[in-house]
């Protein structure tokens, strides 16, 4: 037990800090933190695809948006309670993941990426066009508050992030997870050994889709509005940015990335008109020189501190 505490002291300290945040921060900070948690969850779902399975989707925001719109529509037009929308989101996103996967996974890598981009744009377009249902450009507003205070919502989003993180971690550590990594490393070989590659990819896509959908759902609840932008390429771009800058294939990296991007968005944008430009440059620099993302710098420190320890920590 003590060993556990010692080893993970940094994580536990961060967790403690986050738990205590509402007690000493302004509402503004809480709002930003919540955005980080939500997008962090979304980014983790994306990392499962790109970092662990090697699936490069450029349309992943369609799940995020789907979750958000489903929740909003059910709450506004059908009077659902927020919690009641959750199972619906899970089922629909899983089905959507299945459908999208069946449609797109049979294509080779490059085609897959392009088609997911097109599919993403297509879904954005549908949502945007169907303004009678979805409010079009203006989106939907006025979702009732789901909990009696900002603090409660804060803990809810934090819980969501933790749940998704630990679920993803469990998944990676499971036999399914190791298979996925094998797939990413050498799909051809995996196929030859007899793995049903398509089935595995389908499963990951579904799981990832559900996670993204839940994150979107939460986003709707927190903002109490939804916008077509949730489903747009812009969102996908955002989450890719976060995952890569943070460090793909690490689960924590994307959360770090979400933090960096969100905070920069908030603070840099008041100083620079084009914080996005700075991010674009950072992104390019990371792709060129630090492909494992910023979190790889953090792990380098972790190893240095351990003098003498030869064994590697499991991830």
């Amino acid at each position: 037990m003590i060993i556990y505490l010692k080893r993970h002291w940094f994580a536990l300290a961060t967790l403690a800090l986050l738990t205590l945040l509402p007690f000493f921060s302004s509402e503004y900070i809480l709002v930003i933190a919540m955005q980080i948690f939500i997008w962090g969850a979304f980014a983790i779902s994306y990392d499962l695809l790109i970092g662990y399975t090697g699936i490069v989707s450029f349309g992943h925001a369609m799940f995020f948006g789907a979750g958000a719109y489903l929740t909003a529509l059910l709450m506004l037009k059908a009077g659902f309670n927020f919690w009641a929308t959750i199972p619906v989101v899970i089922v629909i996103c899983a089905l959507a993941g299945l459908l999208v996967g069946l449609l797109t996974l049979r294509f080779s890598d490059i085609y897959f990426t392009l088609i997911t981009l097109a599919l993403g744009e297509f879904s954005f377009f549908i949502v945007w066009k169907a303004y009678k249902f979805t409010g079009g450009d203006d989106g939907l507003h006025g979702l009732p508050a789901i909990l009696p205070g900002k603090d409660y919502i804060y803990y809810l989003t934090l819980t969501l992030l933790l749940l998704i993180y630990f679920f993803a971690k469990r998944l990676i550590g499971s036999p399914l997870g190791t298979t996925l990594v094998a797939l990413r490393e050498n799909e051809f070989r995996a196929k030859m050994i007899g793995y049903n590659v398509l089935a595995y990819k389908l499963i990951v896509l579904m799981i990832s889709g559900v996670m993204a959908g839940l994150a979107g759902s939460m986003n709707a609840a927190v903002l109490r509005s939804v916008f077509p932008g949730f489903m747009s390429a812009h969102s996908t771009l955002n989450v890719i940015l976060m995952t890569i800058i943070g460090g793909m294939g690490s689960l924590l990296g994307p959360v770090l990335g979400a933090g960096l991007v969100t905070v920069s968005q908030q603070y840099l944008s008041s100083y620079f008109d084009s914080w996005l430009l700075i991010f674009g440059v950072s992104f390019v620099l990371i792709v060129l020189f630090l492909p494992k993302g910023i979190i790889s710098v953090a792990s380098a420190f972790k190893f240095k501190k351990r003098s003498g320890a030869v064994f590697k920590t499991h991830i």
């Binding site: 085609y111 390429a233 996005l276 991010f279 390019v284 792709v287 060129l288």
Partner: protein, 287 residues
């Protein structure tokens, strides 16, 4: 019923739009064909071609001068991108993709910085305003210009590929890079050159596009979507496929735009889904 002249007019419009799409995609296809790199930033390069084109046309008094200058500058940009960025990532396709993707942010934001986030309407040059009557239906001079430019580019590309040693290397390299190296040809230099040509073609496309539909910082990404759909429908790696798909898209936009304007924008997606369900590698794709 509608008159045959109307159909002819629509068809001519379709052809000119198709030609424009072809111009837009040609640089992308060329770069992909040889380097196997999806240059996601191509749409942004085209946008730069449009903005610079308008800028130069207003600054210089020569329309054709502005066209050439713009194309050359974007061509140089293409060379720089290959030489300093893409070259470092050979062998890693995912990161090349991400790199060109990241370039979109940079290129698009700089446009906003310099020219602002709003739409800028563009006046066509005087000698290209107005229309010509074909069988009683008007066909704008600018569309004629597009057709002419497209045709010239097409023929030039053909001549380059078929009649020059460089074209020979490119055609061979598209098929088998390693063997070209084994013959003692420095294909890396050709990569750089081809990226320059891709940029040049993008510059031309952007210049023409600017006069056609005005300027907006969103146009880069918008064109990227078009490019990707066309290239997927036509078949990645096939120049002919790109040309054919471009025409199909032109037809779809032109006819849908007239008869079913609600569906004009998703027309391309529908075409894409239909084609891919029948032939997953695209019309002329062979992978």
């Amino acid at each position: 019923m509608y008159s045959p002249e109307l159909y002819l007019n629509l068809a001519l419009n379709a052809l000119s739009v198709g030609m424009l799409y072809f111009l837009i995609c040609s640089g992308f296809s060329l770069v992909f064909g040889l380097l196997r790199v999806l240059n996601f930033a191509h749409g942004s390069l085209i946008m730069w071609g449009a903005y610079l084109g308008v800028f130069f046309t207003r600054a210089l008094s020569s329309f054709s001068g502005a066209l050439i200058l713009t194309a050359v500058i974007i061509g140089i940009l293409g060379v720089l991108i290959e030489f300093f960025l893409i070259r470092r990532l050979y062998g890693n396709e995912l990161f090349q993709l991400l790199l060109t993707f990241g370039l979109i942010f940079i290129l698009d934001e700089v446009v906003k910085l310099i020219w602002g986030p709003g739409v800028i309407p563009v006046e066509k040059p005087e000698f290209l305003q107005g229309s010509v009557m074909i069988y009683g239906e008007p066909f704008t001079l600018y569309r004629l210009f597009i057709l002419a430019t497209g045709a010239i580019v097409c023929v030039s590309i053909y001549l380059l590929l078929k009649k020059t040693k460089l074209g020979l290397i490119i055609r061979a390299g598209i098929e088998n890079k390693e063997m070209v190296r084994a013959l003692g040809v420095n294909i890396n230099k050709v990569f750089t050159l081809v990226c320059g040509m891709g940029g040049f073609l993008g510059g031309v496309a952007g210049f023409v596009l600017g006069g056609f539909s005005g300027l907006s910082p969103e146009m880069g990404f918008g064109q990227l979507i078009n490019i990707l759909v066309i290239v997927v429908v036509g078949g990645l790696g096939s120049f002919i496929g790109t040309a054919v798909a471009a025409i199909i898209l032109g037809l779809s936009e032109s006819f849908l735009g007239f008869f079913l304007p609600e569906f004009a924008m998703i027309g391309i997606f529908i075409v894409m889904f239909v084609v891919l369900s029948i032939k997953p590698s695209g019309l002329f794709g062979g992978e």
